[in-house]
């Protein structure tokens, strides 16, 4: 297994080549060898440019039938207080024109405070927390706002290379107003010392783009004697339907 120094050299080399090329890339490369699991799992052909058609111009609808409001609180799912730093994570889901994505599904999952997932494939010898599952759902409100109460996840080791550690993160799954906006990403915490070492985070080559995955500590969200607060907004790719026709709000093909 490679050492962190070897992986860091690979990351630095790709970063230098990227700087020299002078082209801004705001999405991760799918071909990013320092992330070893990507080696056999990325298309080698250019993505094929397509105009969205038919069903692609619409998105699945989720409603109150689908999501219980209690699912947004990850600290009350197991009949006791989980260990760790209680926090609120909130922000807005916006489309590519900056408009709120209303009443749409947001799903999250994360490790516990010790960096352990409730997943049979997680072999990290850190304690499971009987009071923490680490998955939540909510619907955005009319401003596109989502909000979760959870605990701050810990960093965790993985087998990409020797002594590889993921920066603390929360996985987010998002829908827009069109299926073309579907995305899954990860939210990170400010100032994590593992950022520079992590090939998943570094697969996004533009530093400003990487920063977009980092939440902001917000003292106004922090609640006295209760929880800290972080803010993180998500911008989906542009929507096409409204560009192609006069927007008939709520219309269905």
């Amino acid at each position: 297994m490679e050492t962190q120094a070897e992986i860091s050299d690979e990351i630095a080399k790709i970063s230098r080549e990227y700087d020299e090329a002078g082209q801004v890339e705001t999405q991760p490369r799918v071909d990013y060898p320092p992330y070893r699991s990507s080696l056999l799992r990325h298309p080698t052909k250019d993505l094929h440019q397509a105009d969205p058609e038919g069903v692609e111009l619409w998105a699945p609808v989720f409603g109150r039938r689908d999501v219980d409001p209690l699912e947004s609180d990850l600290t009350i799912q197991r009949g006791g207080d989980p260990i760790g730093e209680r926090m609120v994570v909130t922000g807005r889901v916006l489309d590519g024109e900056g408009r709120p994505v209303r009443r749409q599904l947001v799903e999250i999952w994360q490790a516990n405070a010790g960096g352990r997932y409730v997943h049979q494939r997680d072999q990290h010898p850190a304690a499971l927390d009987p009071h923490f599952t680490g998955m939540g759902r909510c619907l955005t409100d009319d401003d596109g706002r989502y909000s979760f109460t959870t605990i701050k996840p810990g960093p965790y080791p993985w087998r990409n290379h020797r002594n590889a550690w993921r920066p603390a993160h929360i996985h987010f799954s998002l829908f827009g107003t069109e299926f073309t906006q579907r995305m899954v990403t990860q939210m990170y915490f400010p100032g994590d010392p593992l950022f520079a070492l992590d090939p998943i985070y570094q697969a996004i080559l533009d530093p400003a783009a990487r920063d977009r995955l980092v939440a902001t500590y917000d003292h106004d969200l922090t609640q006295p004697e209760w929880s800290t607060g972080y803010r993180w907004d998500i911008v989906l790719t542009g929507s096409h339907r409204t560009l192609m026709e006069a927007d008939t709000e709520g219309g269905v093909a």
Partner: protein, 181 residues
């Protein structure tokens, strides 16, 4: 000025206790009138199965209408919502029980497909067209090189349709980039 889209990241290895849910892959109850199976294998650059992928479909109903009904996460057994999600098994196989999509606005009928996997740094989009009548085409199929077109088309089997997804290498599936991405 439009804001810049947030970058994607891999779904990672630990999504199984969060994203799958009861009934996720059954858009209609197996055995119900009109039910068909859409299934296939997700494979990697060595042709090996990908056992930790997640496939989602989004489709019109048989009449070509795009429904706007909630209930995909808590299926009531009657409402067709058009959305389904299937994680792959140890052999890289995914399966949906659904209805054959109809043509929307005179286009060819297809399932819109999204693929996520550990090791895949950003989601991929593709289309799974129903088997094509002779000479049938549309703007997307016409723009794809003839030798790759079949990667976008289901084959029929006794219970429905087969659509294999090859992430990389020989027979690599045509994946899509929409304007603004």
């Amino acid at each position: 000025m439009s804001p810049t889209p947030t970058p994607g990241q891999t779904v990672g290895p630990f999504f199984h206790y969060a994203l799958p849910y009861d009934g996720d892959r059954d858009l209609v109850a197996p055995g119900s009138p009109g039910a068909v199976r859409l299934h296939g294998t997700v494979s990697d650059g060595d042709g090996a199965p990908v056992p930790d992928a997640l496939v989602e479909i989004w489709q019109a109903g048989p009449d070509g209408r795009v429904v706007a009904r909630s209930g995909s996460l808590r299926r009531d057994g009657h409402t067709f919502t058009g959305f389904g999600r299937s994680s792959t098994d140890r052999e890289g196989a995914y399966t949906f029980t659904t209805l054959a999509p109809g043509a929307v606005d005179g286009g060819l009928p297809f399932f819109a497909v999204t693929v996520f996997a550990r090791g895949l740094l950003n989601r991929l989009f593709t289309r799974a067209y129903l088997p094509l009548a002779d000479g049938a085409t549309d703007p997307l199929l016409a723009s794809v090189p003839a030798d790759r077109r079949s990667t976008l088309v289901c084959t029929a089997d006794t219970h429905g349709f087969v659509f294999d997804i090859r992430l990389m290498g020989d027979g690599e599936t045509v994946f899509l980039r929409f304007p603004g991405q």
